[in-house]
């Protein structure tokens, strides 16, 4: 079925945990084929949304339709469409990479041993772990475990792949490798990539949503995100003693050390300062501005 289009509709979704803690509140989104980035700081509700999509959490209100299946009613059907890489996961340390994937492939109802072997070999090759397929997982590094996690998520050729913070804690080389892999996998399926790293989303996502305090504060393409702050980003050099005043007046998106003080980027509709110059907005500018809204 990989290659057929798939649509995810999130309707009025709210999740409130016991004790009244709000996970997500009143989310409405439509996600289509390609890589969809879900950006937001820690605690913004990304993982809650992903776990509801992955059929691991029951929403309090509203629902999600995945390929027409309702996450409340049609969990088994959704699990057949789904590959899920959680943010925080473990592996059985006494099994080898191949055995662990074989275990999980059995849980994907792939009963034919030859087919299972072919699928696992293919998955291991895609994540560049073929050489260590017979090594016990207890000896794997964090990055290698993350790649085993991705391999297990693609075992059943999912039409919806949900990856939650896949690059967290990885070194730069592993991060690039995982991002490249996600870009390759995006063809013909929906990949929902949750992260708090803006750079990761920009590298691979076709469209994105930004979450904050359990709500979606932006949804659209990267270009549309930049439009939010176009013509409103300014850069100026200040003496350190001026910084506190400026911070009180405008949202600051970066402060860097400069020759005679600090170089500040800020967002303002207009600014009357002799050293302020308009600059091209970056995604960090837009993201930080949205977080401040």
């Amino acid at each position: 079925m990989a290659g057929a289009f798939i649509v995810i509709e999130i309707k009025n979704l709210t999740k409130i945990y016991p004790g009244g803690i709000v996970g997500v509140r009143d989310i409405n989104l439509t996600i289509q084929t390609g890589v969809f980035g879900l950006l937001g700081p820690n605690g913004s509700g990304k993982t809650t949304l992903m776990r509801i999509m992955a059929t691991l959490l029951e929403p309090t209100e509203g629902t999600i339709l995945i390929d027409g299946y309702d996450v409340r009613r049609d969990r088994p059907q959704i699990r057949r469409l789904l590959g899920y890489l959680p943010q925080d996961f473990g592996l059985y340390p006494h099994l080898t990479a191949f055995e662990m994937l074989d275990y999980l492939a059995l849980l994907c109802d792939i009963q034919d041993a030859a087919q299972r072997k072919r699928i696992i070999d293919d998955a291991l090759e895609r994540v560049h772990l073929t050489d260590v397929r017979d090594r016990k997982l207890g000896t794997f590094s964090g990055g290698m475990k993350q790649r085993v996690g991705i391999a297990q998520a693609i075992l059943n050729a999912p039409r919806l792949l949900i990856v939650d913070e896949p690059t967290a804690g990885l070194d730069p080389e592993e991060r690039v490798r995982v991002r490249s892999l996600l870009s390759e996998l995006g063809e013909g399926r929906v990949i929902i990539l949750s992260t708090h790293i803006v750079e990761d989303v920009l590298a691979v996502a076709d469209s994105l949503a930004i979450m904050h305090h359990g709500r979606v504060s932006f949804s659209g393409t990267a270009a549309e995100l930049l439009e939010q702050v176009a013509g409103r980003v300014w850069q100026l050099e200040l003496e350190r003693k001026e910084l506190a005043d400026i911070k009180e007046q405008f949202p600051i998106t970066s402060v860097l050390r400069a020759r005679n003080g600090v170089q500040v980027r800020l967002i303002a509709d207009g600014i009357e300062h002799p050293r302020a110059t308009p600059v091209e907005p970056t995604f960090e500018d837009a993201y930080i501005w949205l977080m401040g809204q």
Binding site: Q32, L56, R75, L104, Q111
Partner: protein, 456 residues
Amino acid sequence: MTRMNHRDSADGIRVIREVREQHPSATSAVTYETSLSQLISIFGVARHELRQGRRSPEFWVILVIGAVATAVPCSQSSTTAGLAGYFAGQTAMIVLGFLGVIWFSLAACRDVLTRTDALILSKPSSGEVIVLGRFLGNYGVVLLLLLGELLAGAVAQTLIAKTPFAPMAYGHAFLRSLTPLFFLGATAYSLSLLFNTPVTGLLVLTYWTYVLTGKTYLRSIYNCALTQNAAVYILLGGAVLALAVILYHPKRRGAQPFPTRWGAAAMALFALGAVWGVHKVRTTQDFPFQFIPFIEAMRGQHVSPGQRAPGFWLPDQWGRTRRLEEYHGKILLIGLWSPDEPASADLLNALAALGQKYPRDKVVPIAIGISDDHAAPRHIARDSGYDFPVVTDIGARVTQPYDQGSPLASAYDANNLPLLVIADRRRVVVEILKDFSGASTVIVERVVDALLPQQF
């Protein structure tokens, strides 16, 4: 990359729904049918569970603890081949009863402990593959541990105690342990799985402690370790597992349609187990609550020198029912023993030697085994290769003193075991040897040698 606007997406969903309505078979409808393919998944998961269990350091720790515990009683000399196997089996079963419960409880919650639960629960496989596959794999691990412990017992018996080695004694010990380990494991596993914490295994550990220590007041039917209760506990263990399969879905994987097949299986197994259990209680002596008239009649006799030896009507090691009257006209050497008394080896060895020494048409050794597990005396007799009858007191409970728990120990006034009674060819008691030991054989021979010329 193809992109769609909202209108396209709404159309797309409409098309998907229409296709599903027209071709319902094209949808991945999930049923709870346990098909052959599901069995393949169950055994595949079990194989991996067995593999990872065997590779874990905990497996080797338990194996070493159990092996040492099993080897100690088997290292004692002056035992019989059958008794050595029995001691090994009992020790291995007791140790694995405790450690196995902990093992199963942790295995049931492993995904929480290793943070693999999201990986496992997001997979489309049905609950029975996870529940049953994992249980079977870990039952396999526990049986491997049992084999290892019995092997340690066999090695200790052969190399340290230097007593004859009977492979069947260990085979019987293995078979006797299958049911209790299955029932304890299934219960601990199911409870821990459903409550998502290994702490619930404590309930099963408490039950096992009661079984091992509560011999004087716990009804036999509640003891899963007794071979005569095997059918009851296999059925109940199966029912508990079926119940776990049913409840695992709504508790851990979201609301699902009620799996009628598993519901029916659980109810049928519970019903059969209960009916069989009630039948066992009603038809067997279950001291102190249930009394069978003919067994009570045996208890009502009394041994006394110069009086007729108390009779019995009990099964021997070949499954035939033996009566004392059958041996009328022969000198009788009636030994009462218990597998739980190591000194019983002296009595059994003496009866075997005396059976070889004297012609069987004149002198007949008969052993009466007193054990909670009615299969144990039969197994020990067969494993040791005794050619004289070894009957089992099927009304017995092993209590101290023995005469309070066993009808025949009561009839023979046997507070302690082993005990030997010599009766002449008219079944009249000539000698009672209490606290029989190897040295008592000389007395027996003297009495028998004196009786033979008088009576034949």
